[in-house]
Amino acid sequence: MSANTSNGIRLSRRRFLQVLAGAAGALVVGVRFAEAGEPPLPPEWLGNDFHDLGAYVRIDSEGNVLIGARDPDTGTGVATALPMILADELDADWNRVSVVHLGLGVEAGNDGHPLWTYGRQRGGTGDSIPAAWADLRLAGALARWLITQAAARRLGIAADRLRCEAGTVIAPDGRRVTYGSLVDDASKLDLPTHAPAPKPPQRYTLIGKPVGDVDAHAIVTGQAKYAIDHHEAEALVAVLSHCPWPDGSLASIDTAPALAVKGVVKVLQLKPEADQPPGHTVIAPAVAVLAESTWAALQGRDRLKLEWKPGPSAAENSAALEQQATALLDSQSAPTTRVRDDGDVEKASKYAAIRVEATYYQPWLAHACAEPMNCLVRIDKDKASLVVPTQSPQQACAVVQRLTGIAPESIAIRVPRVGGGYGRRLDHDYVAEAVLLAKAANKPVRLLWTRGEDFTHDYYRPASVHKINAVIDHKRNLAGWNQRIASASALAGRGVPADRLWSSEVSADQLPAGLVPNFRSDWYAQQSALPRGPHRAMPHLANAFAAESFIDEIAHQLREDPMKTRLRLLGEPRSITLQGGGTLDTGRLRNVLQLVADRIDWKDWLHSVNGLGIACWHMDGAYVAHAIETSLQNDKLGIERVVCAVDVGRVINPLGLEGQVAGATLDALSTALNLAITTRDGKVQQHDWKAYPLASMAQLPNSVETIIVPDDGRPPAGASFLAMPTAAPALANSVFRVSAVRVRRLPLMREFLRLS
């Protein structure tokens, strides 16, 4: 049986809406990413190997619907939301839908570059839904069109008089035909010349309805297999001991006691390769113990006698870096980059009625993924297969290709559900390690990072110091805002030009940019040897804490209700063009702010025994606000209520969105309350959960009251970390109300105890 690829509708130069002909007894429809004239579809697509399906839908003759979710699901719910979009267009019966987590879709390209069959495949970056929204609807609409055409022929009724509902085509006279009985006919029809139009939003049946996580049953019964749960009978388990310094080296090693452990097979060394960007090679020198079981490998590692020689980074410590940053901001030196300069801040300063100044300190952060770094890899002569917890299987593939020379189309990468990502798994140092070890040992390897390695060898969120000066004019308006930020860019060493290194540290459009006539934002580069990388809601997490705390401080100086200060600042509802593209709709921002204020009874702000705090933010076309109520009893701080409102445009799965909002809120509170990574003599001090204590159940609020602004036909914006930035400032602002302690340094709990 040969695949017919001519059956496609061109959507763009390299995207085709396609029907897979000859898919025995099934209708398979999808969007295919390819250059024209690409090789035929792999024969596996015709069989039962659903993993090779793509961002596609397959309807079999029994009426079962299988949908592939292309982006890794790190807990963001995309494996539920993406298939919902397609299923709705198809008018499928959601109870008959199964979802598969797709592995990497890669084929040989004509020019030596790989072809990514499913287009982008990336998770946990907050853009999965916006990126797939149009294509998934088109694929669903085409499948429904074909089924309806087949039904029209069978029933002898014009297709436009038929309607579809939950996997059934219904005629005006009440006759019903199931999708399953139509797929054979439908798969043989000629395609329309243009892609059939997707449904009007009024006809959505699934989009906008609450749907539980597709993996929920597997997860609660312990059947869900993460990468770490995969085994291969022949594989050796590898456990590592990394050098505490990325630029250190091995001074001495005695492997004998490790090798004496029953089950230990080999001890191997790993070294970072020169001139490789972060994430493409080993993060630090390491010694690996390979054994027949995890227990043997762990015992072997504990018996290794290692001495590491420090590199230049051993001179670094986080407290000194912070002092350096403060000194830099206090000096009159020119910034590394002037990110934005509206109006004339110097001139505005001359006419100041009130000046406000504050400095905020935020620590290094780890990713602390629940599932530690791990990777199962098998390398045969000219092919490789991996199971990887990754946010970017294409990046993982590139690392394997570079280290093995194996062609991308011969590298199979499976990505089961991932136990958290938050940006950590956009880097693939652990994949590089597993591949190097499998090559050296000539055996499949199952690499496991212990928690200590995970905490001490992360790509951290850099610490930052923010110093902000504001000028209030005689009309009590905010006339000038001059913010200066010092940090070690997370993009340094990643091939990003020097004049763009600021972009991981500050956004040109972040509040209150665009709202203050004289606005300046300067960034000062710091040097650090600590590996750094993308982190959840970066750079907004750190910047919102500083800016939204500072607006509260301005309100305090003005002796004004901070809600009123914010509303005055936002002004009339209007659209402001952003420098980075898109617009800021101040009406939508006002709306989320007002919603949380109303819900938390903000009118009691002045007289409430408890403290009320508020904050708002916008990012990537979405809007968020938090209002938080804290209490203080016998010096014990308690979070009594948390309200969060979000406006993300069209909502695909409100239940999933609520989960993301509550989850990001709690994560941000946990981070703000307790978490910091510190270094001394170049070494990360936190080795376990005790030293990096995520908030306990008791520390966190009993509920997060979530308000979702009803969408009004705007396309969906990303939402997985939207609720991160405003939680910490709303908390700090409420703590100020209840205790008169202004916390300008995170983590909050430690600082609060120090100051109160």
Partner: protein, 178 residues
């Protein structure tokens, strides 16, 4: 496979092959099934479950089990599986997340409540919450907020409020093991 002594002492066969001696080991009951661990008696239960039995619902969270991902029930009490060497578990009754549902697949009310409340982020920590929650409901079928506050688990994805709701939902319905 039936051990040799079940049939009494077999006669030495004519061929001269002597029967293999019965392997001694540590007998444990896991989710209602009997197992004999014949490896290193110091091996922690976590690695026995995950590496030997390939029963991977119980997760590795850290060297000391502080985040609760590796909780299991030993004789009904929640304990961290990485802190339990096999030689302390002889003849103990162990329940992992895989053993919470009834044999016919009926979920424990708390498992069902987790689904109903969508109390799932990445889901990696979920088995640990379930074990801790099931133990709590057994001890106290109608726990209040301060009881729930005592749960030892942590979660980076922020499922705590939804877990709280799920425990209350399970308590309001049918509490205790299915």
């Amino acid at each position: 496979m039936a051990p040799a002594q079940a049939h009494g002492t077999p006669a030495v066969p004519e061929s001269g092959i002597t029967p293999v001696a019965v392997r001694s080991g540590i007998a444990v009951e896991i989710n209602g099934e009997r197992f004999v661990h014949t490896g290193d008696p110091q091996m922690p239960l976590l690695w026995y479950l995950r590496d030997v039995l390939w029963l991977t619902g119980t997760k590795y969270g850290g060297e000391h089990g502080e985040n609760g991902a590796d909780l299991v029930l030993v004789d009904g009490k929640p304990v961290s599986a990485i802190g339990q060497p096999m030689n302390r578990l002889a003849d103990k009754r162990i329940t992992t997340v895989e053993g919470l549902a009834a044999n016919d697949g009926t979920l424990h009310p708390l498992q069902q409540a987790f689904i109903d409340e969508d109390a799932i982020g990445c889901g990696y920590c979920t088995p640990g919450w379930l074990i801790a929650g099931v133990a709590l409901l057994k001890r106290k079928p109608h726990p209040d907020d301060s009881d729930i506050d005592q749960l030892p688990n942590s979660c980076r994805c922020g499922v705590q409020t939804r877990v709280r709701a799920a425990i209350k939902r399970a308590a309001a319905g049918k509490a205790g093991p299915a």
